[in-house]
């Protein structure tokens, strides 16, 4: 590539990255005004890269989550800074679209931009995008996705793409997933910074990763461990294994302590080099009381059982951990919330309904009211939804 064109492409990537970061800042300001789900995180990181002195860095991050009737917007911006050796800023915007007509399907799509200055892998920027399709059942799910990234590093432009497939399952409070991904890139500077060497004359290199992740959740607390095995498929002779653990301890409604330790393998799509990283940070949640993470499909189900004397018994069942509070409300209770009771692995409520039409909502930990997943859903005039039941 000609130097002028190279500079131009560097400028485009850096410009796009800055634009995305700016969009994130604007989004956070808007979020603060709307008192959405905003989280601020600050802490410490120790970054150790092969061939370099370990660097002590400061972390600052902001997350904003905005659910709407049709999608959830997730944005984040983060800054990692270590004097004289490492500085990186990243902005991410992602949309999560549940399929209204196919309850089990969900599509995630997003883009991210970053600028960085790394003593190991040069100065520059990265822009990337991803698309991932999920199938979400009650206790298991699967996904397939693809991602594409452009990096500019000390004047050299590179491109990378990745495809991945995976599946997860949940048993009580344990969540486990296994995935396979392939990553192809011509970002050789990143490969060298990660301890790899290229095969002579190869225009690109390719990795194959197998990853297993297991996490245990109890209410808002979470402990996750991951193991990744990487081997090269083309362009390099590289093998690596990575183990990482991360935990979240919710200290109060709004304050959480987060810690992680382990190896981050090089990520060509996002332009990140391999490093051993230890972090410790505090997270402050603003806006509404934070909810435990639950897949939409596990929120609630409703069943109707005919009663001998007419009408039905409505049974609302929620598959969720026992450390949360679940309520049901509707026309039948004048919208006064009724607590569900624990029955085995489920939260359950039983309500006798005479013939007629009813709206039903379920919520966890005082969060937004949701329609049980298998009922017809109608908008509720308050930015949410209700389930609709017609009893003969």
């Amino acid at each position: 590539m000609l130097p002028a064109a190279q500079e131009n492409s560097d400028g485009v990537i850096a410009g796009a990255s800055r634009a995305l970061l700016l969009a994130c800042v604007v989004a956070f300001r808007a979020a603060a005004q709307e008192a959405g789900d905003v989280r601020l995180e600050t802490g410490y990181a120790r970054v150790d890269q092969k061939g370099f002195r370990p660097a002590d860095a400061a972390l600052v991050a902001v997350f904003w989550r905005k659910p709407t009737d049709r999608f959830t917007l997730l944005t984040s911006g983060n800054l990692t800074y270590a004097r004289d050796s490492l500085a990186a800023a990243q902005g991410v915007a992602a949309f999560v679209f549940p399929w209204a007509s196919r309850e089990h399907l969900r599509t995630d799509v997003g883009a991210a931009g970053a600028t960085f200055s790394l003593h190991s892998a040069g100065r520059g920027g990265n822009g990337n995008g991803f698309l991932r399709q999920h199938y979400v059942a009650d206790l298991w799910g699967a996904w397939g996705g693809t991602a594409f990234g452009l990096s500019s590093r000390s004047g050299n432009r590179s491109q990378s793409y990745a495809v991945d497939i995976g599946a997860w399952t949940r048993w009580r409070a344990i969540f486990a997933s296994a995935s396979l991904s392939r990553q192809n890139s011509d970002d050789f500077q990143l490969l060298y910074a990660s301890g790899g060497l290229s095969t002579s004359g190869a225009p690109t290199y390719e990795f194959e990763d197998w990853q297993v992740v297991a996490s245990a959740r109890r209410g808002p607390h979470e402990l996750t461990g991951s193991w990744t095995r990487r081997h090269s498929v083309a362009g390099t002779d590289f093998r690596a294994e990575a183990v990482a653990v991360a935990g979240t301890l919710q200290l109060s409604d709004r304050l959480a302590f987060l810690a992680s330790a382990g190896r981050q393998l090089a990520d060509p799509v996002r332009g990140l080099p391999q490093a051993d990283i230890i972090t410790a940070s505090l997270r402050l949640s603003l806006g509404p009381k934070p909810l435990p993470v639950m897949e939409r499909a596990t929120i609630a189900e409703a069943f109707l059982q005919s009663e001998p004397g007419g009408g039905v018994e409505l049974i609302v069942r929620v598959a969720a951990v026992d450390s949360i509070a679940v309520q049901v409300a509707g026309d039948f209770s004048e919208w006064k919330p009724v607590f569900l009771e624990r029955e085995g692995d489920y939260w359950v409520a039983r309500v006798a309904l005479p013939p007629g039409k009813y709206h039903v909502g379920v919520r966890a930990n005082l969060g937004p009211w949701r329609a049980p997943r298998n009922l017809a859903r109608v908008r509720d005039d308050f930015g949410g939804e209700s389930g609709l039941i017609v009893v003969p």
């Binding site: 004048e334 919208w335 006064k336 009724v338 009211w369 005039d381």
Partner: protein, 218 residues
């Protein structure tokens, strides 16, 4: 313990319904909307609706739903005003029916996205003296399940003309729900289930000859 909780829940529901009945008798002055300005506006809206001969219970229920969902006062006010408008529209579309239940069902159908003209078609499918509450409710449920409104209307009005009872129409909605829960496409479930109900009904000729199997008013 479980039984004890269920009894308590039942008692709470009974008390809630008694208190709602009292509230209805006393009018909307007891609405627990924290924002005083919004509360006055909602009460005024309900009083206006009452003066126009519209049912007030759906408006009170909508306000209560907003309170339970901790919606801002102005949102509750807008939701109640919007519901009043839909009740008014439903009254025009379902004329000469004026029962509170039919207007509430019509308003709900409009909210769920049923085109206004379809309310007229549902009303026209049965004699005026028969309530169309159940056909409207099932139509609303089917449309909320993303079944094209035209298709849902065709099936329901066909059943109505063939003399289906309200309970047969309601069971259609329930059967579709069960099919969808087990993975069938809503559209396909409606097609199959409507045919099933249709097979239980007398032929069009016998309906035309004045021998409906429908049990009459709901």
């Amino acid at each position: 313990m479980n039984m004890h909780r269920r009894v308590l829940t039942l008692v709470a529901l009974v008390l809630a319904s008694v208190s709602a009945a009292r509230a209805q008798a006393r009018g909307p002055a007891v609405l627990p909307i924290a924002d005083a300005k919004a509360r006055v506006a909602v009460e005024r809206e309900i009083a206006r609706a009452e003066a126009r001969g519209l049912p007030t219970q759906p408006l009170i229920a909508k306000a209560m739903e907003g309170v339970a969902k901790q919606a801002p006062g102005e949102q509750i006010e807008a939701a109640v005003a919007s519901m009043a408008k839909r009740l008014e529209q439903a009254r025009t579309l379902l004329a000469p029916s004026t029962s509170a239940a039919e207007l509430a069902s019509g308003a709900e159908a409009l909210r769920a996205g049923v085109p206004a003209a379809m309310l007229k078609q549902v009303r026209a499918a049965w004699p005026v003296e028969r309530s169309v509450v159940m056909p409207l409710d099932v139509l609303t449920e089917l449309v909320a399940r993303k079944i094209p409104a035209k298709h849902a209307l065709e099936q329901i009005t066909a059943l109505m003309r063939r003399g289906a009872t309200p309970s047969q129409i309601a069971s259609l909605g329930q059967a579709v729900q069960a099919d969808v829960a087990s993975g069938l496409e809503p559209d396909a479930a409606l097609e199959v289930r409507a045919r099933g109900v249709m097979s239980l009904l007398p032929s069009p000729a016998s309906v035309a000859a004045g021998a409906p199997r429908g049990s009459g008013k709901q």
